[in-house]
Amino acid sequence: MSGLIHRLMTRGRGLVVAVPYVWLLLFFLVPFLIILYISFSEAVIAQPPFTPLAELVRDEDFGTTKLQILLNLSNYQRMFEDDLYILAYLNSVKIALITTLACLLIGYPMAYAIAKAPPSRRGTLMMLVILPFWTSFLIRIYAWIGILKGNGLISNFLQWAGITAEPFEILYSDWAVYIGMTYVYLPFMVLPLYATLEKLDPALLEAAADLGSRPFRAFLQVTLPLSLPGIVAGSLLVFIPSVGEFVTPELLGGPDTLMIGRVLWNEFFANRDWPVASAVAVALLLFLVIPIMVFQHVQGRQMEEAR
């Protein structure tokens, strides 16, 4: 009897563990394999717009059938030959880094202030950070167009204040992209930072003060190093999706705001060159795996220390 319960329990546990694996398999690994498959094919004007990799070929001379697998490497080759792709990658990394830095500089004081607020007020403040998620992402970006455009809020204000005479247009520039992306990804920085700062034992800062450390030095020597896991987690949560970001640069950026997400979109939908687009996507993924692995490593070490 107890053996049966034990077997059911272990099976139940197995099922629970299996659910995320099945999810990842179906919605992550299978689509990735399809993309990987397409990236080795050739573009054709057909439905679907790429050639199959494997074909059964009938050899009439000998009367035999062969399975012919053709791997087209030119899609990957093209990414090294045409600087468009390399430039787009580099620019994406640059924009993602600046976005991450801006989020960190704005998000750290926010998270710190929320963590130091009286416990009764923390919930409300966190709510305010998460509140924008309740509105559609697109609507929020369109709202920024209204703020940043030539006759928008900022420009009108500057003219009214007499700082500029001409309409001041930020929209359709890299600056607009930085502002929009920092705005969009800020909560992803604030949430993990808040989680680590809130756990920080206030007695540690008292101990630092007691040992003669002024508040700012105590911050540098105690708070900052102990919030490092939150900084790493928040930075990666902002950096990774920023690199592949498409919508914000498309709507706020200028025509010369080159990002890999836009290149990807153009290849898929404008050029209908699925194989090249897939190769770009695979390269992007491999490129992003490195920071993800750093993230995992840091988290693992942190879990070990928290034991």
Partner: protein, 383 residues
């Protein structure tokens, strides 16, 4: 009290000397949190080299008082002077005081060595000197070989010693200790009590320790301030507060006690006679109490000061002599605790050393016994 005071009876009692200026002077300090009064007009003088205990239950205000000395809380009223200097407005990092935290508050991202060096680094002490002083401190607390470990790799007792070393390394004149032994198990606690007293005597630092453990306060400190509801109930040496408690609260908080209600029948300068229905006899005490006859008072008698006998003691005059039935016996090895029910229904606690082997059972359950005590045993409590 199972353990004897480990502090040697010291001839040096600076608080007795009116010419001595106290090192720490707490002058009518009050701390309010909203409507709640945590510390209520407390005044205390603590002298150089003392091992001073603030003893009280939770919510008695002892920790708040300590935190005001460290500078983490500011008094709502009153002033604190350390070495003659008014501490009002002086932040913690500028006070000549160090604190050992109840949770130890060790920096988890630093090694033992870095934790201990932290305070010296803040004062920009030269590197070679930091190294020497940290090594010296780690030797003092016997943690030399753990210098490179992180706090999470240490046991509770080792962490406690790191916290002590870190708070001593700056050679403070005054060390504040918040429940320093609270997180240790019993055996380790007793051993660490000795160590703390030894270190304190060797370095000659003034210690102020907050504790809820009366035994800890009794064994370590030169003087104890018993706190209750934000007020000081009594200040005195361990034997003073034990033998001469000034209130019911103190007598019950420190050790165990039997309290007999009664009415003063006779009041002279050399003795007092109290009529007590609860005790079933007159209580004769050989000192005056300065209260008029007819006043209701309580008499506190410690369990170890009562003698149990099966026969009525010779020369008994009916005073300080009660009769009852033995209801419970707790055998503790070195001594036994007897709960004796008097004729009036009151249960009296008596402790007696087991001078004979237990197998002989001089007094056993349901025996009728006589309880007697000396004229000096009782303390009259008017509060």
């Amino acid at each position: 009290m199972a353990s004897q005071p480990i502090r040697k009876p010291t001839r040096l009692e600076p608080w007795q000397d009116p010419g001595q200026t106290p090192y720490v002077r707490i002058d009518r300090v009050t701390k309010r949190f909203g409507d709640f009064v945590a510390v209520d007009e407390v005044s205390l003088s603590i002298h150089r080299g003392e091992f001073f205990a603030l003893l009280g239950g939770s919510g008695s205000g002892k920790t708040t008082l300590l935190r005001m000395l460290a500078g983490f809380e500011t008094p709502s009223d009153g002033k604190i002077y350390i070495d003659g200097v008014d501490m009002t407005g002086i932040p913690p990092y500028e006070r000549p005081v160090n604190m050992m935290f109840q949770s130890y508050a060790l920096f988890p991202h630093m090694t033992v060595e870095q934790n201990v060096a932290f305070g010296l680094k803040q004062d920009r002490v030269p590197k070679p000197e930091i190294r020497d002083r940290v090594a010296e401190m780690l030797n003092l607390v016997q943690l030399g070989q753990f210098a490179k470990r992180k706090p999470h790799q240490l046991s509770g007792g080792q962490r406690q010693r790191v916290a002590l070393a870190r708070s001593l390394v700056k050679r403070p004149k005054l060390l504040l200790l918040d429940e320093p032994l609270g997180a240790l198990d019993r055996r380790l606690r007793e051993q660490t009590q000795f160590e703390l007293v030894n270190i304190q005597e060797r370095l000659g630092i003034t210690f102020i320790v907050v504790t809820h453990d009366q035994e800890e306060a009794m064994t370590m400190s030169s003087r104890i301030a018993v706190m209750n509801h934000g007020k000081i109930a009594q200040v005195g040496t361990p034997s003073e507060v034990y033998e001469y408690p000034n209130s019911r609260f103190v007598s019950e908080f420190i050790g165990s006690v039997n309290l007999f209600e009664g009415i003063v029948a006779e009041e002279q300068s050399d003795h007092v006679l109290i009529r007590s229905e609860e005790a079933g006899c007159d209580l004769y005490i050989n000192h005056g109490v300065m209260v008029p006859p007819g006043t209701r008072v309580a008499v506190a008698i410690r369990p170890e000061k009562i003698t149990l006998a099966k026969e009525a003691p010779a020369a008994a005059d009916g005073r300080n002599l009660a009769r009852g039935l033995v209801r419970e016996i707790a055998y503790l090895g070195d001594m036994s605790i007897y709960l004796v029910q008097l004729a009036g229904g009151k249960t009296v606690r008596v402790t007696a050393p087991n001078v004979t082997r237990r197998t002989e059972m001089p007094i056993t359950w349901e025996d009728e016994v006589y309880l007697s005590w000396q004229p000096f045993a009782g303390v009259v409590l008017t509060q």
